[in-house]
Amino acid sequence: MRVAFGEGLIEIGGENEDLVVLTADVAKPTHVIGFGERFPHRFLNVGIAEQDMVDVAAGLALSEKVPVAVAFAPFMMRAWEQVRSTISRCSLNVKLVGTHAGLSASDEGASHQSLEDVALMRVLPNMTVVVPGDREEVKEATRAIVESRGPAYMRIGRDEDARFLEEGFRLGRAAVLRDGSDVVVFSNGYLTSEVLKAAEGAPVDAMVVHVPTVKPLDAGAVVSAARRAGAVICVEEHSVIGGLGSAVSELLSAECPVYVRRMGVGDTFGESGTYRELLEKHRLTAPHIREAMVEAAGRRGKR
């Protein structure tokens, strides 16, 4: 995913002369180094100083530049208060990208696994929050947040290389990838590809809706899918507190109160392991999701 992101940035950088990329001593692992080599005068590496980076980006935005600040997702959160007090408060045109998000930093362990970033960014007024999962979608989402006005946070994983979308990314739009009438699964990031696998061959008829924009949530698509299916599962590589599952629950509790099962990482920290082992441990692989589909379909309310 980070490879696609790096390629996307270079493409956009060639078209938009105001684009400036910043990083905090992670130019190589985040793959923004290619942008730095191509456009050295529009590239700033501030060293291991995320708080400084985020506010330097704010200053650039206050001078009509379009800064994209890139760090590992958990360490971007170190600058959360700067994001809150300066960027989000004044709706500055700063784009933040957290890489190695979710469980994807796998072997590095809990310190490097970001399971809270969607919650922390979603709570901020003015902030757009994007969690793409498909290789091409990462590039399109990068372009979309750069072209939109105002602050945005995009989180991407490390090494996953999924391709499951036929249509392009549109900011604020959810995509129905599979129709079904017994249960609907809302998911984002790489895990949507696990959800699609789960739906194939499941004993129930599952609808799959990919929701790459967590904020603003595509309320129309979420409510109408929930109405049609009558039971909901949310799947994300994030804490079950505060992320996509919470956003969907908040909406449906008022607009279409149905059974909602939130799948993600429970109220706990991660640990070292391979990416697959961690997904398995937190029951985020296709077989577990398929099991949940059956259970949820059994708890469907009236439409």
Binding site: V46, A49, D52, D55, G59, L60, S63
Partner: protein
């Protein structure tokens, strides 16, 4: 030749006199504001001459066109001194002076701490330690577009406790930002106590120098000295730090060099005493 120099000196002296007159206006506005609302009066008064000299003499800016791209920028990193910034902006003509009465009131453009809602405010602040970083972004942007726009950041001495200050000092020196000036309002107080009691700052000057900044130390209430050092800063090829030695509550004797005026609302009696003192000093000037 010598007559040209004399003429320039005369003009300079007149300019400085004008700044001093306007400083007296701003002092009066601050006292008025503090009579109806609790404000950080002491830390506003300690940096009044600095902000006034920047806006009334040094900076290139256009109050009728606050968003002019080529303007010099000012960032009040110690955002709690917002009242003095607002009073200076009003005196400069960014908005009507009457609006100062709305300070911190509901629906006002004059928030408790600087916000982009206020005409003339270049950057938000209120959470300490962020101004230098924001200034770096602006200074870099100016360099990128080949602009001669300069960036001035005013920080408090207590604020130097924040780790981000030192992150940004390293960044600015590394980037050799000769268009960035940091002024530290060295009034010796922070919220809880004297700065050296809460956490030692000395030797501040050698710390700044060792971080790669061209560093000066001045009396922060002396307008001539402020102009002189800001002129020198324009010739620098690296970022410049100015330690401005000041007194919290400067100009109002019952507040001077104490923490009483950290945040206060003046009583009727205090208000009258403050106004009387300012009027006396104005007569002697």
């Amino acid at each position: 030749m010598s007559s040209t120099v004399e003429l320039a000196d005369l003009k300079h002296a007149t300019d400085v006199q004008k700044v001093k007159e306007r400083i007296r206006n701003v002092q009066r506005m601050l006292v008025e504001m503090t009579s109806s609302m609790g404000v950080h009066l002491g830390s506003s008064l300690s940096c009044l001459e600095i902000i006034a000299t920047l806006y009334f003499l040094k900076m290139r800016h256009t109050p009728h066109r606050p968003q002019w791209k080529e303007r010099d920028r000012f960032i009040l990193s110690k955002g709690h001194a917002a009242p003095v910034l607002y009073a200076v902006l009003a005196e400069a003509g960014y908005f009507p002076k009457e609006e100062l009465r709305t300070l911190k009131r509901i629906d006002s453009r004059l928030q408790g701490h600087p916000d982009l809602k206020t005409p003339g405010v270049d950057a938000p602040s209120g959470s300490l330690g962020q101004g230098i970083s924001i200034g770096i972004g602006m200074a870099v942007a100016a360099k990128m577009r080949g602009s001669r726009s300069r960036v001035y950041v005013l920080a408090g001495d207590g604020e130097c406790d924040e780790g981000q200050v030192w992150e940004s000092l390293m960044t600015a020196a590394h980037l050799r930002l000769g268009n960035l000036v940091l002024i530290i309002d060295r009034n010796g107080w922070q919220l809880d106590d004297r700065t050296e009691e809460v956490k030692r700052k000395v030797p501040l000057r050698s710390k700044l120098e060792s971080f790669g900044w061209e560093t000066y130390s001045i009396n922060g209430h002396d307008v001539e000295k402020i102009v002189e050092v800001l002129d020198a800063a324009e010739r620098a090829e690296q970022p410049v730090a100015i330690i401005a030695h000041t007194k919290k509550g400067k100009g109002i004797s019952f507040l001077e060099d104490s923490n009483k005026g950290h945040k206060l609302k003046l009583s009727e009696e205090e208000y009258l005493a403050a106004i009387k003192e300012l009027e006396m000093k104005a007569k002697c000037a």
